[in-house]
């Protein structure tokens, strides 16, 4: 049972106050998104005259078109669309490969335990928590040696390597509560390692697959540190392009274009959050508390 409802329901004044506080917070939370959105639909003159909170008097899509196709980032004036696709090129393989590796690892670490499995898991798990500053310098060298510096391929590798920790954690915790009897029975029937995985565990893993994909997708899409450290120019992901667009101080600041570009960078993860918020939260929680 929940601790809930300790504020007596008869006490109307207290209830009203409660709702007022909660709604105020909701307004505060929505405010920046609202301001971003309305700013992105205003012509620049309107921004310079008026009130940030007002709805546009003259709705215009021009800032979005410019952000997508013609805004100048560095010397290149073709908007953020190329970087948006870079991010997609990075996210898709990075999420799939790190997810697959994590699923296998979780399976081995729970159903085919060997001596030292705890140490192996501990070593993999700790990699989730290192400050990535510790690997920036050697990673830059290694990417150079492998000839994948400054490329989306390089970033795919980086995200796979540092994604394994979380994907392994997710699948390990999920499979730990999967009944051992089923696996043992299948082993007695002569089913092998892969048969058991693909026929018995994988079909039951849809929830954790969704959690993993959402978690990895959000993390990789939102990454900035790796993007800014290991790429420049054409191969940068969207977050780096957005930062370059917003914080390069040449000419008049086109706030409406900046906000439209920020929305472009935010929309994919927001959509995922709105469609699958439950799974998003579950991922966050298992990243912080044991599953």
């Amino acid at each position: 049972m929940s601790a809930g409802s300790l504020v007596a329901r008869r006490n109307t004044l207290a209830r009203a106050l409660l709702y007022a506080v909660l709604l105020t917070f909701a307004v505060i939370y929505l405010m920046p998104l609202y301001v971003m959105l309305v700013t992105s639909f205003k012509p620049l003159e309107e921004i310079h005259q008026g009130n940030m909170l007002a709805l546009p008097q003259d709705w215009t899509f021009a800032p979005w078109r410019e952000a997508w196709g013609s805004a100048c980032i560095g010397l290149e004036c073709s908007g953020v669309h190329g970087y948006f696709f870079n991010s997609i090129k990075i996210v898709v393989p990075a999420v799939l490969i790190s997810g697959l590796l994590g699923a296998f690892n979780g399976y081995v670490l729970t159903k085919w335990r060997f001596r030292g499995h705890k140490i192996v898991f501990g070593l993999i798990l700790f990699s989730c928590f290192i400050p990535f500053q510790i690997i920036l310098l050697p990673m830059a060298r290694v990417l150079g040696i492998l000839h994948i510096a400054n490329s989306t391929t390089g970033l795919v590798l980086v995200h796979i390597v540092y994604g394994i920790g979380f994907t392994t954690l997710f699948f390990r915790n999920f499979y730990a509560s999967f009944p051992d009897e089923l696996v043992r029975a299948a082993k007695l029937d002569g089913a092998g390692f892969f048969t058991i995985f693909f026929r018995i565990l994988l079909p039951a893993s849809i929830p954790i697959i969704v959690v993993t994909i959402i978690w990895q997708f959000t993390n990789v899409w939102n990454d900035f540190l790796f993007g800014v450290s290991f790429t420049s120019g054409d191969s940068a992901p969207i977050t780096v392009a957005l930062n370059n667009l917003v914080n390069s101080s040449t000419g008049v600041k086109a706030y409406n274009v900046n906000m439209a570009a920020a929305m472009v960078a935010a929309v994919p993860t927001l959509i995922v959050y709105i469609l699958a918020g439950k799974y998003f939260l579950r991922g966050l929680m298992s990243g912080s508390v044991k599953g």
């Binding site: 049972m1 601790a3 809930g4 409802s5 300790l6 409660l18 909660l22 909701a26 939370y29 920046p32 998104l33 700013t39 009130n51 940030m52 399976y107 159903k111 085919w112 335990r113 060997f114 705890k118 192996v120 501990g122 070593l123 993999i124 798990l125 928590f129 400050p131 500053q133 510790i134 690997i135 310098l137 050697p138 990673m139 060298r141 390597v161 540092y162 392994t168 390692f193 899409w221 939102n222 900035f224 540190l225 800014v228 450290s229 930062n243 917003v246 900046n258 906000m259 920020a262 960078a265 935010a266 993860t269 927001l270 959050y273 709105i274 918020g277 998003f280 912080s288 508390v289 044991k290």
Partner: protein, 300 residues
């Protein structure tokens, strides 16, 4: 679980014995090399004479003493302390408050939860861009308040060297509080109701029930929340780059931005490596005991 194959065991059985380890090994090798190998390499570099290029001559603690005598590093440490403390305390208090308020059988709880949590889905760069605009001294909140008739309203923290770090705290709190709230809410929902009922029957006032019974039971959630927030704070890089670029001047430098600028723009690899090792040491001191306790608990 798997028994070692008997010497008579067929090839198939031997394969089944080694296969799990074989499947795990690519990940393990990647982690050993890219995490632990790199940690060793960076640690070594922090004791070497490396500048623009790695230079493997051992120079003892020279880079470390240069780090600690650096003025900017002092600012960075001070900032992360101020930022971290405010961030952790505010997120925890606000998160707990929102969770308690939401736990009163609120109508539309789901919608409110969704609203509180959505910033967590955004990139720090998006958050930074939004808040930089929102707090823009010329055109943002200040101007809006003026046009709403509050002429004397003034808010220029973003460009005030003494106050800029607090704007980063505001944006960071905005982003993470919903998540902390969700953690506390899950904790509240897991509390045993019997003691609460008993206290209610005894006529204990609500605030006392929370103070004496409920909040003490949330201790594990507090621990998790603080670890998560501390970890996010030490890693804070994106948000500061996007909001203030570490400025004005060096006013909002933190260890993460310090390390980045020494590594990639000042070409002082040795100092950058030393600062990274320091960050790792702080996080490890925090995370290892936590992971240890989290991982062994279920066995007992």
């Amino acid at each position: 679980m798997s028994k070692p194959p008997s010497s008579r065991g067929g090839a198939r059985e031997r394969l089944q014995h080694w296969l799990p380890r074989l499947v795990l090994s690519p990940s393990f090798v990647l982690v050993l090399f890219f995490v632990y190998g790199f940690i060793l390499w960076t640690t070594y570099i922090s004791f070497s004479g490396s500048g623009m290029m790695p230079d493997y001559t051992w120079v003892g603690t020279r880079q470390w003493s240069r780090l600690w005598s650096s003025w900017t590093w002092g600012i960075a440490l001070h900032n992360i302390w101020v930022f971290g403390l405010l961030y952790i305390v505010t997120c925890t208090v606000l998160g707990l408050l929102l969770a308690i308020l939401l736990d009163q059988r609120i109508r539309a709880e789901g919608t409110l939860r969704t609203i509180y949590l959505y910033p967590m889905a955004l990139s720090f760069i998006v958050t930074g861009t939004a808040w930089q605009w929102f707090l823009n001294p010329g055109l943002g909140l200040e101007r809006t308040m003026h046009s709403l008739g509050w002429e004397s309203f003034s808010f220029n923290w973003l460009i005030d060297a003494n106050m800029a770090i607090y704007t980063v705290v505001i944006a960071a709190v905005w982003q993470a509080t919903g998540f902390i709230m969700a953690m506390f809410l899950a904790g509240l929902r897991g509390i045993d109701g019997e003691m609460i009922k008993a206290a209610q029957i005894d006529g204990a006032p609500t605030w006392k029930i929370y103070g004496r019974i409920i909040i003490p039971q949330l201790r594990p959630v507090f621990l998790s929340a603080i670890v998560v927030l501390a970890h996010l704070a030490i890693k804070s890089f994106d948000l500061i780059v996007a909001m203030t670029g570490g400025g004005p001047g060096n006013a909002t430098a933190v260890p993460a931005t310090f390390m980045y600028s020494y590594a990639f723009s000042r070409n002082e690899m040795g100092i950058a490596a030393a600062s990274a090792v320091f960050m790792l040491a702080v996080i490890a001191a925090l995370i290892i005991p936590y992971l240890y306790s989290e991982l062994r608990e279920p066995r007992s």
